[in-house]
């Protein structure tokens, strides 16, 4: 990719992105192409990161990584292109609570119908309890946990979580943002990532 094209891409992405400055955007673009590798840089071919790349970056637990990937991949084409990459990271690293809530809700709403249903919850929580040999039905605990969650978050008592329910609960208790599994980087890896990627070229000589 030539410099001019890169410059243009950087400019457009910077314009559309709230949280990053031009330098940071250019760093991210550079990183993107490093990850994607020169091989994919053929005109016309779909450029993007597939799931495997993604894990490398954020070390998210495998169980929820597919969810996260969906959150990034807005156009659902199975790979993350450079725009999705920058926007996704913008949310990850600098996103406001509102943006994060929106993102997390979308991730948890597996079928995209605007609600998190009991079944979806069950699916997401099914590995959250250690199997106890004494328990007859291991699913009992999960079902109970779903009920507990509903009791806590389902304000309109319709047996499923709407975005309004979810938002209210999160505003009351920020810990519930990632109620059904981690889908945001933890602050430590976030800091490490930023330190790594946004290294000022001028610092290099120090």
């Amino acid at each position: 990719m030539n410099r001019k094209k890169l410059q243009k891409l950087t400019d457009t992405l910077t314009k559309n992105c709230k949280h990053f400055n031009k330098f940071e955007v250019s760093c991210l673009i550079k990183l993107f192409y490093n990850l994607v590798g020169e091989a994919t840089e053929r005109p016309g071919a779909a450029i993007g990161l597939d799931r495997n790349h993604y894990y490398l970056l954020f070390c998210l637990p495998l169980s929820s990584s597919s969810l996260v990937f969906r959150g990034f991949d807005k156009d659902n084409d199975g790979s993350i292109n450079v725009t999705e990459w920058v926007n996704g990271l913008s949310l990850f690293l600098r996103g406001s609570l509102e943006e994060k809530m929106k993102y997390c809700f979308d991730v948890f709403d597996l079928n995209g119908d605007g609600f998190i249903s009991k079944e979806e919850m069950f699916h997401m929580l099914k590995n959250s309890l250690l199997k106890q040999p004494s328990e007859e039905d291991p699913d009992e605990g999960i079902k109970d946990l779903v009920e507990i969650t509903l009791k806590k978050m389902d304000y309109d008592h319709d047996g499923k979580l709407s975005f309004a329910d979810y938002e209210k609960a999160v505003r009351e208790e920020a810990l519930l943002l990632e109620a059904f599994g981690p889908c945001l980087p933890d602050p430590k890896s976030q800091m490490e990532f930023e330190a790594q990627v946004f290294k000022d070229p001028n610092d290099f000589h120090d």
């Binding site: 250690l130 810990l175 990632e178």
Partner: protein, 1030 residues
């Protein structure tokens, strides 16, 4: 008498011979009763009093022969039929042979009668035998009145009838003593009769024929129940035994069991003859009857477990109405027996000392935590009583503050002495309320148990959900707090703090923060090692996490052990560094789970420091970590949330000298004054409290005035609803009014009138300060007039009858200040105030004595109090410098009257004053010199002072740096120099040169006295020279 003495009196060494009676309250009671008996004997039974003892009672006495009137010098005039005197004194040995003489002796011994009686009883271990003969040995328990009668009627002694009467009288005394002491002893019982009785009744209802019952039968050995609930005979009750029961379980033979205060055990069983019981212990001691029976009978144990629920339910029902009683006896027991008598006394004296050295501090400091107050009251009170040594328990409302005061000083003693010494007050574990497994549990209990299960067995996601759900319970409620603990939740919550999961840590701390309002939970958290982990979290990069950890520490670290743990794990330094955050004014707008405002971090740090600053070592640690400048900086902010913990910490720490200096240096006073004007009552209170602590220092008092702090203080006086704040405000006013300029200001603000209005209907904590302030204000003539005009004298005099030491010190001082005005003096006298002041001279507290002695200058009036002058002179034997100074001042005043001077001279004022001469205390020196110079005016006192070697030390006073000492000394020397021998002593000690310097002083009185003294010395020198040449 015999039984009581042998069984009850607490002898130091068991066995006969040289044993001595211990000084215990019980023995004292015994001795006093015996004295009363002996004293009344002659009057009540004149005939018997003359009856001659079989053998004399013989002991070493401390009485001087001179104590006896003429006729008693060596032996009594009264003799027996053989011509032997009934009382014979030779050297220290004394022999007495009748009750008549005994009562005479008690009368003569006056104050020493207790000692004499003790010596007599110690030397005559069985007085009854000596009095009546060996056949009346009452040491055996089987003796009864009939026995005695029998023996006496058989004898052919002509005094038979008298002897019999005496025997009966002694028997009566014996019973009386037994009853009397029983009352004392029954207070010390551990297990008390009530629960034992209930247990037995309950078991009874579950016993009978058939396989399902617990026992075949259970019965008392005696049907008679004493008024204290015991059935054991009195002489066994002394050993703590309450009753004996016969138990027949299904599978073993009948057991004869002793229930005693120490527990339940098998005794020797019924002896065959007369149905007597062999009291000897034959087996282990069990904690209660049920445990005993479970161990003895397998059948009982089996049937018991079958019906456990029913039984324990019944038992619980019983226990609930028992609980208050138990607690009461618990407290009483502690108050009376203490743990270890000598130990107790040690702490008591210790305590007294620290209280004195720490300047009398009124008990403003009662706030620890509102929430814990109620729960702790019983423990605190018993503690207080331990130190006060008074077994009364009815001052709950007022005593709270005092208890705190006690706590403070005790805390300090301990901390200085040794950090690891036994924990005080708050560390006495409150009774654990673990819930019984089978009791009716609230539904929350089960829900919480389920959540804890998910906490244990869930991954991060499940854990967070469980944590959030747990927060929906009412964590302020004790049921929930204890439920979390009882299902093992605390361990899990604390373990979560040790993981890397930030979210779990946050969730866990949010719960711990709430439930640690409960004192029991605090202790459990510390026991489980929660504090060091929280201290480590303070280093976390996430501000919200830091905040939560600091806040939780603030809640947990409310007792000494916790304070120590925080400090030892470096928590103080970390907390102090949290204070440093707030300088960064550019705050991140973004509020996320992990971030929070810097101000918040600093606030939480201050909160935790506030909690920790109640311990002396922590105060030091805060200072060393550089906390004071940071606190000073935070004080400039305007958030009340921030200011309260900051000022609270400062106020707590201002008890230390180092802090007061630093507070002055950091210009903190200015901001304290500013915040007095705040709207927040709590903030006002802490500011006033801090000012109170700091205003010991003169410069600080001036600063308070310069920054305009006196006006808000004066206006806060008008709001009397909030007593804590009122106490703090009056305290600040008191300390500030030590400076004259401040008093003038207070007068301007009409504060004096308001203070007078506060003399009635206020708690003691307020009164101490109000009176203290008035005492300072009344050093001024104008204010004295105001106090009188507002009718302040009457309430002040009324306060003279109180018992609160701190208050009395201030009241005597204030009354003394008022008494300077003749007009006021008239009022005081009319209200009987002078007599009240005099009676305070007998107060055991030296500070009270000292301040009561000041106003004792009412000339002629003084003599009208019987023994008053003698009392004053005797106070010179005190070893407290303050007392001595004020007594000297009082003597100076008293001695203005010639007749008084004559009386006190007779009471030996001269040698006592002379003995004090070798002091380095300038205040005492001045008053002593004044007293000496005044006392020279009588008879040959001048010569006497010389003989008692008072002159040489006085000369040295002239080298003191205090000019007021110089003047008094020169005047005294002038008086003394009228005697030639004294002149020689002065000359030998180099007085002339020193006096010559004084002649040049601008102080005219000093000049004159010095010159007069020199001229006397000179004149003597001339006369001797002349004599030599002639």
């Amino acid at each position: 008498m015999g039984v009581a003495l042998a069984r009850l009196a607490q002898w130091t060494a068991a066995g006969y011979g040289t044993g001595t009676l211990e000084i215990t309250p019980l023995n004292e009671v015994l001795l006093k009763e015996i004295i009363i008996f002996v004293e009344h004997f002659t009057n009540d039974h004149p005939q018997e009093a003359k009856c001659v003892f079989v053998e004399p009672l013989e002991w070493k006495t401390n009485l001087e022969p001179s104590a006896f009137e003429s006729g008693y010098i060596v032996s009594s005039e009264e003799v027996d039929k053989n011509g032997e005197p009934l009382l014979f004194l030779s050297g220290p040995q004394i022999k007495v042979r009748s009750f008549g003489q005994l009562s005479q002796l008690v009368f003569i011994a006056k104050d020493a009668k207790l000692k004499e009686t003790q010596a007599c009883i110690e030397a005559n271990r069985d007085p009854v035998v000596k009095i009546l003969g060996s056949e009346y040995n009452t040491m055996t328990e089987d003796s009864n009145v009939l026995n005695i009668l029998h023996k006496i009627s058989n004898g052919d002694d002509p005094d038979n009838e008298k002897k019999m009467k005496i025997a009966i009288l002694l028997k009566q005394l014996d019973l009386h003593l037994l009853n009397h002491t029983l009352r004392h002893i029954s207070l010390q019982i551990h297990l008390n009769p009530v629960p034992v009785k209930k247990d037995i009744e309950l078991l009874k209802s579950f016993s009978g024929k058939g396989d399902q019952t617990f026992l075949e039968s259970i019965e008392y050995t005696s049907d008679y129940e004493f008024s204290n609930g015991c059935r054991a005979p009195p002489w066994r009750q002394i050993h703590g035994e309450m009753c004996y029961i016969l138990v027949k379980p299904h599978d073993v033979d009948t057991l004869c069991v002793t229930c005693s205060t120490d527990g339940v055990f098998l005794n020797g069983g019924k002896t065959d003859d007369e149905g007597e019981i062999d009291y000897e212990r034959k087996g282990e001691v069990y904690k209660d009857l049920v445990t005993f029976l479970k161990d003895k009978s397998a059948k009982f144990s089996e049937n018991m477990s079958k019906q456990e629920n029913k039984f324990s339910e019944e038992q619980q029902k019983n226990q609930t109405d028992e609980v208050p009683k138990k607690e009461e006896t618990y407290a009483d027991q502690k108050a009376i027996s203490g743990t270890d008598k000598s130990n107790l006394e040690k702490t008591q004296t210790n305590f007294g000392k620290t209280q004195m050295t720490r300047r009398l501090e009124p008990s403003l400091n009662w706030r620890t935590t509102v929430d814990s107050k109620d729960r702790k009251t019983p423990v605190k009170e018993s503690q207080e009583e331990k130190h006060g040594g008074k077994p009364e328990k009815s001052r709950a409302s007022v005593s709270h503050g005092r208890a705190q005061l006690f706590r403070k000083s005790v805390d300090k003693v301990e901390e200085i002495a040794s950090e690891s010494s036994t924990e005080s007050e708050e560390d006495e574990e409150p009774p654990d309320h673990r819930q019984e497994a089978n009791a009716d549990l609230p539904s929350e209990y089960w829900q919480i148990q389920k959540l804890v299960k998910y906490l244990k067995g869930g991954n991060q996601t499940a854990t967070v959900i469980a944590l959030c759900s747990m927060r929906d319970f009412n964590l302020a409620q004790e049921t929930c707090q204890l439920a979390i603990r009882d299902v093992g939740g605390l361990e899990v919550l604390i373990n979560l703090l040790d993981t890397d999961e930030v979210k779990c840590k946050i969730g866990s701390l949010k719960i711990l923060k709430e439930i640690s309002h409960n004192p029991q939970i605090r202790r459990n958290i510390v026991d489980l090692g929660g504090l060091p982990i929280m201290v480590n979290i303070l280093d976390s990069p996430y501000k919200s996490l830091k905040c939560l950890a600091a806040e939780t520490i603030a809640h947990v670290a409310k007792f000494k052990r916790a304070h120590r743990v925080v400090r030892q794990h470096g928590g103080i330094t970390k907390l102090v560094s949290l204070l440093d955050c707030a300088q960064n004014s550019v705050e991140p707008v973004q509020s996320s789970l992990y971030e929070t405002r810097d101000v918040e971090v600093a606030r939480c740090g201050a909160l935790a420091l506030w909690s920790c600053s109640k311990s002396y070592s922590n105060k030091e640690a805060i200072r060393k970590a550089g906390g004071i400048p940071l606190l000073a900086r935070l004080l400039k902010t305007s958030h009340e949330d921030m200011l309260i913990p900051v000022v609270g910490t400062l106020q707590e720490c201002a008890s230390e000298e180092n802090y007061r200096a630093a507070i002055k240096a950091e210009r903190i006073i200015e901001n304290l004054v500013k915040n007095l004007n705040s709207e927040n009552e709590q903030l006002q209170e802490h500011c006033a409290m801090a000012i109170y602590q700091c205003a010991e220092d003169e410069e600080t008092r001036d600063l308070v005035r310069l920054h305009g702090g006196l006006k808000p203080l004066a206006s806060l006086l008008n709001n009397t609803d909030n007593k804590e704040r009122l106490a703090a405000v009056t305290g600040a006013i008191w300390k500030c009014s030590i400076s004259k300029e401040n008093v003038t200001k207070f007068r301007e603000y009409k504060a004096i009138e308001t203070l007078v209005g506060l003399l009635t209907d206020q708690p003691e904590e307020v009164l101490v300060n109000v009176v203290g302030a008035l005492g300072e204000c009344c050093q001024d003539h104008e204010n004295r007039v105001i106090v009188r005009r507002c009718g302040g004298i009457q309430p002040l005099v009324n306060l003279l009858v109180g018992i609160n030491q701190a208050l009395l010190v201030n009241v005597t001082k204030a009354v003394g200040a008022c008494a300077v005005e003749p007009e006021s003096m008239v009022i005081i006298d009319r209200l009987d105030g002078v007599r009240l002041l005099w009676s305070l001279l007998k107060n055991p507290h030296p500070d009270v004595k000292a301040s009561a002695a000041w106003p004792c200058d009412a000339g002629e009036m003084v003599r009208s109090f019987v023994g008053g002058l003698e009392l004053v002179v005797n106070l010179l034997k005190s070893d407290n410098k303050e007392v001595l100074s004020s007594v000297c001042a009082a003597i100076t005043n008293i001695a203005k009257d010639q007749e008084n001077l004559a009386v006190i001279t007779d009471h030996g004022v001269v040698p006592l004053l002379s003995k004090l001469a070798n002091t380095n205390n300038d205040k005492l020196r001045r008053h002593l010199a004044e007293a000496i110079s005044r006392c020279c005016m009588w008879g040959r006192n001048r010569v006497a002072f010389g003989e008692h070697k008072a002159v040489a030390p006085l000369v040295r006073y002239l080298k003191s740096s205090d000019t007021s000492v110089h003047r008094a000394t020169a005047q005294a020397l002038y008086q003394l120099s009228e005697d030639p021998d004294n002149c020689i002593t002065m000359h030998e000690n180099g007085a002339v040169k020193l006096l010559l310097d004084m002649v040049g002083s601008p102080d005219q009185e000093l000049q004159e006295a010095a010159a007069g003294c020199i001229s006397n010395i000179r004149r003597l020198a001339l006369a001797t020279e002349k004599a030599r040449y002639n």
